[in-house]
């Protein structure tokens, strides 16, 4: 496919140049920076130049590091502790011969957190495959069902056990948040899984699931980027993967570890953000607010 930037890199270069040029023009041309009252007829929103610059910078950095990793340059990434926690929980379940439960959150597959959860799910399936213990995946949104089925099936297949895959273990329960929680609690209470893995986008049901899981004596590992629910996971689970670590874990576990380059990219972006923050704070302290204002988005 020629349109994909990474598979055929040289073809991508002219495109990048054009984008770069455009941004330069946008930044220099003063007519863009004059905020117009009525934008309904124009083709570019000048109030969002700052967003465009950031987006292009961030995309560029990520793609650069992924390409570097693909070329075989070694990139140092520290071990992500969440991985050990998942492996330990699944390991304990296999020792005890008790099921593993994977809860992928309650949002649809068009949410990035759910996609990250699906990537992790495939690898959990791979870990479980050899041991003849069931892997239950209760699901809240119908659209997630086919994706989860595929991921589990593929996980079993790549571990050489396609026969062990049981379609009935990927279960749609209900779209309604608390009905879903009730259904998952039912699985926890009656099938007694030894490892509860809760990854994805959770809301108020987080504590219900984690408390019921504790009651059944399971080892619980949870991960979410929903800040308001993190306190409950931290309190009630054995191990909690916080915010960005969820995406990092999924990057680590994804098919090509080389995609870890994206972690480097996001690290660089973080460093730049810290620099901007420091500079901005100093400038504002001295009464220069133009720099800060540039980051204002309407």
């Amino acid at each position: 496919m020629i349109i994909f930037p990474c598979s055929k890199a040289p073809r991508y270069r002219p495109f990048l140049r054009v984008v770069f040029l455009l941004i330069c023009i946008l930044l220099i041309d003063p007519s863009w920076s004059l905020a117009q009252e009525d934008l309904t007829e124009s083709w570019f929103n000048p109030n969002r130049v700052n967003m465009l610059v950031f987006l292009v910078f961030f995309f560029g950095v990520i793609i650069y590091f992924i390409r570097r990793a693909k070329k075989g340059k070694s990139l140092f990434i520290r071990r992500i502790a969440g991985l050990d926690a998942i492996e330990e929980a699944v390991g304990r379940a296999t020792e005890m011969g008790r099921p593993v439960l994977f809860v992928p959150g309650i949002e649809d597959v068009n949410q990035i957190q759910t996609v990250a959860a699906m990537i992790i799910l495939g690898n959990v399936a791979k870990m479980v495959a050899g041991y003849d213990i069931p892997l239950f995946v209760p699901i809240c949104r119908p659209f997630v069902v086919p994706v989860a089925e595929e991921r589990v099936k593929e996980g079993y297949a790549s571990a050489g056990r396609p026969d062990a895959y049981n379609r009935d273990n990927v279960r749609y329960i209900s779209d309604e948040q608390f009905a879903y929680a009730a259904g998952v609690q039912g699985i926890m209470l009656r099938d007694k899984p030894m490892a509860n893995l809760l990854f994805g986008s959770f809301f108020a049901e987080s504590l219900m699931l984690a408390e019921t899981g504790f009651l059944t004596g399971a080892i619980q590992v949870a991960g979410t980027a929903n800040i308001h629910q993190l306190p409950f996971f931290v309190v009630a689970c054995d191990y909690t993967i916080i915010g960005e670590e969820l995406f990092a874990t999924s990057a680590y576990l994804s098919k090509e570890p080389k995609l870890l380059g994206s972690l480097k990219g996001s690290d660089l972006a973080k460093a730049v953000i810290m620099g901007i923050l420091a500079l901005g704070a100093i400038l504002v302290s001295f009464g220069v607010i133009e720099f800060k204002n540039w980051f204002f988005i309407q």
Binding site: P5, P142, V147, Y172, R190, L207, A225, E244
Partner: protein
Amino acid sequence: MRREIPIAICFLFGISFILEYFIPHEGVLSIFETIRQWAIIVIAFAYVLGIANLLRINYHVVQRKQRDWPYKIILMASLFFMITVGIVFDILGVGLGGIGEGTIFGWVYYHAQYPLQSTMFALLAFFIASAAFRAFRIRTFQASLLAVTALFVMIGRVPVGESLWAGFPDFTEWIMNVPQLAGKRAIMIGAALGAISTALKVLTGLERTYLGGE
């Protein structure tokens, strides 16, 4: 082809939605609004898959008389009941069909689903107490920070706290506006960068595991 076309579609729609963010043109916005509606339609179709999955699994349980099978009959019966009074009654023109106020569907919603839902939600009052009792032990420094802040904020929010120490509300406010806010911002920034890079990998087809194997 079985993988390239889906990935191309993914890329195309993804990039267009990114561009849409920068285009304030009315015509363009209305096109994208239509496409957003499409996603809702497509998801509605997927619902049939969900219901089929639910019925298949529960039917298997009943057929094989596995544990708790009578309850699965209740589950399927209530599902069929809702669909019957919702659609079938409406199409047949039987009274009280359809959804909304004053229909059987509405009654069941107000007197079964709503109380069940809100009662499940209210179970959290109990769980939050048992979780606090168990976890808030002064074991390590980190655990103590967690426990002590939780206690302060908790007591500072109720009238009793204020009568214990007049400065409690202000102190709670400070915790919320300084350390809580700072931690929240850091998680937000990190998580957003992680999400964006994952999204980018999905769009460009670098991460395509969601499509499944061949």
